[in-house]
Symmetry: C2
Subunit: 355 residues, 2 copies
């Protein structure tokens, strides 16, 4: 292990964020849209690792369709990817991270980051990364655990085992998304953190774990890397070889099975912006509790999220509603029910097929 090299950020930008309908109809995944703030979430993610004293240039793993947008957005914040790996198809995080591990130095420490999360306190994030670095350099697979603020049933949890010191714990278990009562119990008992999909791990340690616990993922990634083409910073893995990779997350493939797995809990204003409610919670809210974005007015409204990426929106006298408009689609739903929007979209699609 080196201990001297900089950390290699690996930004995963393969997701499509379908939960945030109707923005998902804009033809871009949510990380490439300015959803929270003026920057896109990809830009905010990259900016978090811009300090060249600690971080090497990032490796970005994404779908081919987004290559130009990603390059342009990174350039806007004065950054360039070391490599932009364009997955021929989405196969989950385990194969994507394997491609990144094979693209960098084998003893590099990789900081794996989804590109569609918000971290309101980047200094806290950086401190956690620095705290985790010695463990990663020792070969631990480190995951960052988000201290839970509520009995959330939408995330998996990490149960802490024995303390390793310096803010790290050995992981006792990764546990599935709980039901409401179980989530309440986790919160009351303590010692549980949300699994946010943020990892710090040495490339060779990850590849060794893949070899042991998910050899088909490793073999497919190696084949895809061996047959890859390069176009400038773009890397195009071999399509046929990559297609052989099982579609699997790093959690299932490796983290839940490996032995030296640590968790570093962190409070950093984290959100996966997985729902419109989450975006409302991020704010900033006006005096009436409204979070307003775009060409919108909300006179007499309270507790609303009103957002437009196109048309003028007048949301008048509304209470605790989510209103999101684009030129092509509009969503109106009470706050707390936006997770049910998928039902409505399914109903719409069914009617279209009938028509």
């Amino acid at each position: 292990m080196s201990g001297t090299g900089r950390i290699r950020p690996v930004i995963l930008s393969g997701g499509t964020g379908t939960r945030l309908w109707p923005l998902s109809r804009l033809g871009r995944p949510k990380q490439l849209i300015a959803i929270a703030g003026d920057e896109t979430m990809l830009q905010a993610t990259a900016s978090r690792v811009a300090d060249e004293t600690l971080f090497a240039p990032p490796i970005v793993v994404a779908g081919e369709a987004d290559a130009e947008a990603i390059e342009a957005q990174l350039a806007e914040v004065g950054m360039e990817a070391e490599a932009l790996i364009l997955e021929p198809a989405g196969r989950g995080t385990a194969p994507a991270i394997a491609l990144a591990a094979l693209a960098g130095g084998e003893d590099e420490v990789m900081l794996i980051m989804p590109s569609d999360h918000v971290i309101a306190e980047p200094a806290a994030f950086r401190s956690a990364v620095e705290a985790a670095l010695p463990r990663a350099e020792e070969g631990w697979l480190v995951t960052f655990g988000i201290s839970p603020e509520r009995p959330e049933t939408g995330y998996g949890y990490i149960r802490r085992g024995p303390a390793l010191g310096a803010g790290a714990w050995r992981v006792s278990a990764f546990v599935e998304k709980p039901d409401a009562a179980t989530a309440e119990r986790y919160l009351a008992e303590g010692g549980y953190d949300w699994n946010a999909g943020l990892f710090l791990l040495r490339a060779d340690a990850y590849l060794a774990a893949l070899e042991r616990y998910a050899p088909a993922v490793l073999a497919a990634a190696q084949g895809a890397a061996a047959g890859q083409r390069r176009e400038g910073r773009r890397v195009l893995p071999d399509e046929a070889a990559f297609a052989a990779a099982p579609s699997v997350s790093i959690d299932v493939a490796v983290m839940e099975k490996a032995d030296k797995v640590a968790v570093v809990p962190v409070e950093m204003g984290w959100s996966d912006v997985g729902s419109w409610e989450a975006l409302h919670a991020l704010g900033p809210a006006d005096a009436d509790g409204n979070v307003l974005t775009g060409d919108v007015v909300a006179p007499g409204s309270r507790g609303c999220l009103v957002r437009s990426d196109g048309p003028v929106v007048v949301a008048m006298g509304c209470e605790d509603m989510v209103v999101v408009a684009t030129e092509r689609a509009v969503l109106i739903v009470p706050r707390g029910q936006s997770q049910r929007v998928k039902e409505a979209i399914d109903a719409l699609e069914a009617r279209r097929r009938k028509d």
Copy 2:
């Protein structure tokens, strides 16, 4: 008086329907948009007088910008205007009707109809017209009064005087839009009808009344007609002469002052579609009380009007809301508050000026 000629329909299509924001942003007045049903309200208005045994071809008075749309929409329902009088500027109904009176035969009976009203029972309307015809032929200025269904404060009222027989009454007074208590009293007392702006009157009787009560309107209309140009069925009055006309309604100019004014009350499912609430009341509503128009779904919603003239709209779990969407603008407001939308639009405009 003739007694033998057919009735000349006069369709007034000069209004802009600004109350129905955001449809008013589509660049067409509301009568030229299919708001209630599959036909536009102009088409529905013309279709009501399509029976050639009773009605001559209509004269349409409109703004220049709408000429092509009006011709195309009439053609779609198999009709053509006798004349399409294009006002150089909107000066209210009194000058507009004067232009129509000067364009037709002087002893013709004119049926004056706004183009942006809904009449759910056209047979009742026709019966009322037939009942009123003898009075009009005798030189009475006849107005049709809508039997009030509720203590509406948004309309003027007509107080009935002595009965003239055959369903007609001499008008005792035109009264202003009442406050809520007065409207309740009108409803309780009876003998009051809503003033809907529908009239049956002989052209020469109207012109004579103008000469007596509003000579400036008559003079301007005569000057505009004398200097007019014709382009096929289109009539373009002289702009400078018409600009001299006072801007005034037929009610104020003539009906409130003239002596031989009669009212024929009628129940015919009338609505001026002056608000989104009115459109909701027109229906048709589904089992949950929702009136849905366009590419919309409203699962779990009740009592809502949801309408799209462009984007897909998902209005989920909403109660008693008005939702109207175009590609350029979206309105969300509780039912019963849509009359306040003007405040919101004013706020929006003010902010734009500030930006």
